[in-house]
């Protein structure tokens, strides 16, 4: 059976332009038309050199199955939480000092002295919990809708790696305020890692950079928190979204596939 696929909608600026309105007295088109033309020209210039419109049309205007609902936005919400964490984290790094003697004071400085500092740190602090919650809701949606099944198993695996990396962000970020709670929580967390058989003791030494919580432990956690894991997460989000785009999303499990009458007869 041949399926007729309608042409995807084209962004407004690339549609056929309207017939020109009456020219000005000096013979040029009206200013409004000229301004509209500039936008189209710029987009056209870029598109001619990148051929991006074909990709973007397929990516942004792809079809979704019937029954798609608000639960399908949890993945995007998680990604938005990650972007929020990335942006606020970059700006917190401008004031934060990852040394054991200054870390706590620099956080107090951000909270109390820096203009809007408590807001940005608050966004990062609470956004971390929001992201964890959203990750689990997104995972639950995928599980209960059966969206992990063939051919999307690999995307589930990528998602699980992203979950572990997100928890790693929570673990490494928790130490950075360097108050009593974060210090002892990290001591306990590292020791829980250490109880893994055979490799556990060495994993603890790796996380602490030595047998005791030392001078480089904090900067090590900081580097993992703001460089290593975010790069991995960003790359894997790219893979995750590529696979979603390539494979499409699933219909909710309560919808049954409806075949056209003609096909039903053939079956």
């Amino acid at each position: 059976m041949a399926i007729k696929i309608p042409k995807p909608p084209i962004p407004g600026v690339r549609r056929t332009p309207k017939p020109p309105s009456a020219p000005q007295e000096n013979g040029r088109p009206p200013v409004k038309d000229q301004a509209a033309e500039i936008g189209a020209e710029v987009v056209g210039w870029i598109d001619e050199r990148t051929a991006a419109s074909g990709f973007l049309r397929g990516f942004l205007f792809r079809k979704v199955p019937k029954g798609t609902n608000w639960f399908y936005t949890l993945g995007s919400a998680t990604m938005f939480a990650f972007l929020s964490q990335a942006v606020t984290g970059v700006f917190l790094a401008m004031y934060y000092d990852p040394s054991p003697t200054h870390a706590y004071d620099s956080i107090q400085h951000i909270n109390n002295d820096v203009w809007l500092g408590s807001l940005v740190r608050g966004m990062h602090h609470w956004g971390a919990s929001v992201m964890i919650v959203l990750v689990f809701l997104h995972m639950g949606r995928t599980f209960f809708f059966g969206a992990y099944k063939y051919p999307r198993e690999l995307n589930w695996v990528v998602g699980v790696v992203l979950l572990v990396l997100t928890l790693g962000m929570g673990f490494t970020g928790y130490l950075l305020p360097f108050d009593q709670r974060s210090f002892w929580a990290t001591v306990v967390g590292v020791n829980i890692n250490g109880t893994a058989p055979f490799l556990g003791p060495y994993l603890s030494d790796f996380l602490r950079a030595g047998p005791e919580f030392g001078a480089t432990t904090l900067s090590r956690f900081y580097a993992i928190h703001m460089l290593l894991i975010p790069v991995l997460i960003a790359a894997l989000i790219g893979v995750h979204i590529y696979l979603v785009t390539k494979l499409g999303t699933t219909a909710p499990p309560w919808l049954r596939a409806k075949l056209p009458e003609t096909d039903r007869e053939q079956v």
């Binding site: 020791n191 556990g200 003791p201 030494d205 030392g214």
Partner: protein, 247 residues
């Protein structure tokens, strides 16, 4: 495939050449002719080809480029990984620090002292140690020595405190309880409290590196909290490279 003669035949006879295969038979004149011409091409002889060559130039250069990329990546990646893993293999220096003259300590109760286990990290590098003189009436102890009990809980590393009236060490986090010798009497800890090596020099009691003990107070190199040291369990948690000690 076809040799020269059959190609001649194919060109002249058009689609009558059914014997050459199903694909060919189904094609009408023009396409069939194209397929025949394609089949007539001589075997590819890329530049530098010689009879009996085992690797083409293209394969050699592909392999060479990949090898060069692999070597370049390793040249960057291996030192970086080694740099990050280095501390796992570096043994910490053995140092001793004074905690007071022997007259500060008694046999039947602990005296708290503060030592620095990590320098340059401020308060985070300090820890409390409970010290007493050895008591020959207790199992495994000889007269004239000192016992220095680490406050790091053997469950997950929270700081325990000595509750003198109860003669117990108590952990605030998850309820670990230890007796006068530091042996577990309750809660989740898997082995007794760690200790520090003690010696007397220049009229001062000095504390050296940390060591761990199992439930029979047998001495092991320092283990992290939560790691068993009894029976077969101890083989799950080998000695680390960062701590001194034989086992």
């Amino acid at each position: 495939m076809a040799d020269e003669k059959s190609i001649e035949h194919g060109r002249s006879a058009g689609n009558g050449d059914a014997a050459d295969g199903p694909g060919r038979a189904a094609t009408p004149n023009g396409a069939g002719g194209a397929a025949v011409i394609h089949a007539a091409l001589p075997p590819a002889k890329p530049p530098g080809y010689f009879e009996g060559e085992s690797v083409t130039r293209r394969r050699l250069f592909t392999g060479g480029a990949m090898a060069a990329g692999g070597i370049a990546s390793a040249a960057i990646g291996l030192p970086a990984i080694g740099f990050a893993l280095g501390p796992v293999f570096k043994q910490e220096e053995v140092t001793y620090q004074d905690v007071g003259p022997p007259s500060d300590f008694i046999v039947d109760n602990y005296v708290p002292k503060t030592i620095t286990i990590t320098s340059n990290v401020g308060e985070a590098g300090k820890t409390t140690v409970y010290i007493r003189k050895t008591n020959p009436e207790l199992p495994g102890e000889k007269a004239g020595g000192f016992i220095a009990i680490s406050t790091r809980c053997a469950h997950l590393g929270c700081p325990v405190r000595w509750v003198s009236p109860a003669e117990r060490f108590v952990c605030p986090c998850h309820g670990g309880v230890y007796d006068f010798q530091g042996k577990v009497v309750g809660g989740p800890p898997v082995r007794p409290l760690d200790r520090f090596v003690t010696r007397v020099q220049n009229g001062q009691v000095q504390l050296g590196p940390r060591y761990s003990v199992n439930s029979h107070l047998k001495r092991f190199s320092a283990r992290d909290p939560g790691e068993h040291l009894d029976g077969l369990w101890k083989y799950l948690y080998p000695k680390r490279f960062t701590v001194p000690g034989p086992q």
